[in-house]
């Protein structure tokens, strides 16, 4: 890909073919990147190129094409390791998505290590993906769940963390950034505190909303597990990442079993393959993974620092514009520091679904609902919210379109 230093954001947007079309006669204003992101031409081309010129299964053939495919697939693993500063590519397991990555840990490490009476500490702001697998595990094992509360300002109240970290705490799992509130949790400080107070506990960080938006560093954060998804960071769907510390992964039993994850099989038993393949049974999403590699290249060419500061500018503008609309309530921190570009809000007397429909009529795509975080909405005291979220292809004009569309919705409902 041609390198671009300080490419304008308008030109970045032009790299995404989807923006050349109109939705309901309006230019597409896509404000749902927290759910999934659009794909740049480079990612689409990488997938197409793989299918057209070197498609074959990986880790199998002796022939040239399979070698080329395997090499490309494994190269992405190295890219991912370098992108998040893992110690080694053997710590990178490819899964289907972040949800599967968490389930992998729950089903393997969890079932092996969580016992009756153990405690699993989560937060009140978790996505269902980082809540339900632990509920199921806790029920099965007779373990207990405890939750770090969310303060009224939309940040975690970690003042009681030490109390929550009772000596039977075996696992602490929390999101790096809330997909509803936009809150960025102080992962590094939290892990440090957990290590001090509950050295026996394993820490899993849900990076589905952080890895796409700002630089994450496994050596600095020092979590035991870290998960994220390709499709939320410009890559194809169907590819997720589980980062795990080598020693933990080494001692975990496999998740799914079958081809590729074995080193030797007889009719009655099998030996497991080395890391990371021990956790990758069956033919993986090769094309998607190769596309994911192109997505990482694209993000790195723009620069994660630039991506984040651009999103913060848009978030600051959105908070300013939306706060000025009477009857509109924003959930989550008002200050942009330690906050990402997911802005959830509600409008007095207009249900989020109606608001999203009216915005859609004006070409503005936002999410309405509980955003897979129903318990958090209960705490916020609402059934659902409307959420606008930003990524590198959004512009100030998009934020303006959002504000205008919201004003139009109020006119339509005569409020």
């Amino acid at each position: 890909m041609t390198p671009f230093i300080k490419k304008s954001w308008q030109k970045v947007k032009a790299d995404f073919p989807i923006f050349s079309q109109k939705i309901n006669g309006q230019p597409l204003v896509y404000l749902d990147s927290t759910a999934s992101t659009q794909k740049p031409r480079a990612v689409i081309d990488a997938v197409k190129d793989f299918y057209e010129t070197y498609y074959a299964n990986v880790h199998r053939g002796i022939y040239t094409l399979s070698e080329k495919a395997s090499e490309a697939y494994e190269l992405v693993r190295q890219k991912v390791a370098q992108f998040i500063n893992a110690s080694s590519a053997t710590e990178i397991i490819f899964t289907r998505n972040a949800t599967e990555s968490i389930n992998l840990v729950a089903f393997t490490w969890g079932r092996q290590n969580i016992k009756r009476g153990d405690r699993i500490v989560l937060t009140e702001m978790e996505h269902h993906a980082n809540l339900v697998p632990w509920q199921v595990l806790a029920k099965e094992k007779g373990a207990q769940l405890a939750f770090i509360p969310v303060a009224p300002n939309g940040r975690l109240d970690i003042s009681h963390l030490d109390t929550l970290l009772a000596k039977q705490t075996k696992l602490v799992a929390f999101t790096h950034m809330s997909n509803v509130l936009g809150t960025i949790n102080p992962a590094r400080e939290m892990v440090r505190q957990i290590r001090k107070k509950a050295p026996q506990a394993v820490v899993l960080v849900d990076g589905a909303q952080s890895a796409p938006h700002f630089q994450v560093d496994m050596k600095k954060i020092d979590a035991d597990f870290y998960v994220f998804s390709s499709h939320k960071m410009l890559g194809p769907t169907g590819v997720g990442v589980l980062y795990g510390k080598h020693e933990l992964l080494e001692h975990m039993p496999p998740f799914l079993t079958g081809g590729d994850m074995i080193s030797h099989v007889t009719l009655h038993e099998a030996r497991w393959n080395d890391l990371p393949w021990k956790f990758e049974a069956g033919t993986p999403n090769i094309a998607g993974t190769i596309g994911f590699g192109a997505a990482i290249d694209y993000l790195q060419a723009v620069g994660m620092e630039r991506v984040f500061s651009h999103e913060q500018e848009l978030t600051a503008l959105a908070i300013k514009e939306l706060t000025a609309i009477p009857g509109l309530t924003i959930y989550g921190p008002r200050e942009v520091k330690d906050r990402g570009g997911a802005v959830s809000f509600s409008m007095k007397d207009i249900h989020p679904h109606d608001l999203a429909s009216i915005l859609d009529e004006q070409g503005v795509a936002v999410r309405a609902g509980h955003h897979c975080a129903q318990p958090l909405h209960e705490i916020l005291g609402v059934e659902s919210t409307t959420r606008a979220s930003f990524y590198l292809y959004n512009t100030e004009a998009d934020v303006q379109s959002l504000a205008n569309a919201l004003k139009k919705a109020k006119e339509l409902f005569n409020i």
């Binding site: 679904h353 109606d354 009216i358 004006q362």
Partner: protein, 129 residues
């Protein structure tokens, strides 16, 4: 630009819904929610003496304007309907009776009340396979 779905009829019905509330001593009651947003609609009804017809239908709960308007319209359209007719009352029939175009994304909202009433009345239509 078309805001067809939000014609006055939807806005009126959702703001001033007909038959809003819960019947005391109902002959049937059910509650369903929309998993997308957690909206809840409950339906209660009373039958005639012969237990063949819906004599009174009420709805309760929180929802978007489409879900509320649909519930309000549903209570009007089904009062006096026989259980036999209710079984034949299809999703499309009901959306037609709403009198506004419903976009595919909002069908779930529009049909929530009807599905709840069917559940309450044990009048789920047969699946054609």
């Amino acid at each position: 630009m078309s805001f067809d779905m939000y014609r006055q009829i939807i806005i009126d019905h959702s703001r001033k819904p007909k038959n809003f509330g819960t019947l005391k001593q109902p002959d049937g009651v059910a509650e369903r929610n929309n998993p997308l947003c957690g909206d809840r609609i409950s339906i209660s009804y009373r039958t005639d003496k012969a237990k063949k017809k819906l004599q009174e239908v009420k709805f309760d709960g929180a929802g978007c304007s489409i879900a509320r308007a649909a519930a309000s319209i549903l209570t009007e359209k089904t009062t006096g309907k026989s259980f036999q007719d209710l079984k034949k009352y299809s999703d499309d029939d009901f959306i037609k009776d709403m009198g506004v175009p419903i976009t595919p994304a909002r069908r779930k909202c529009a049909l929530l009340a009807l599905e709840t009433l069917r559940q309450a009345a044990h009048a789920e239509p047969k699946k054609n396979n």
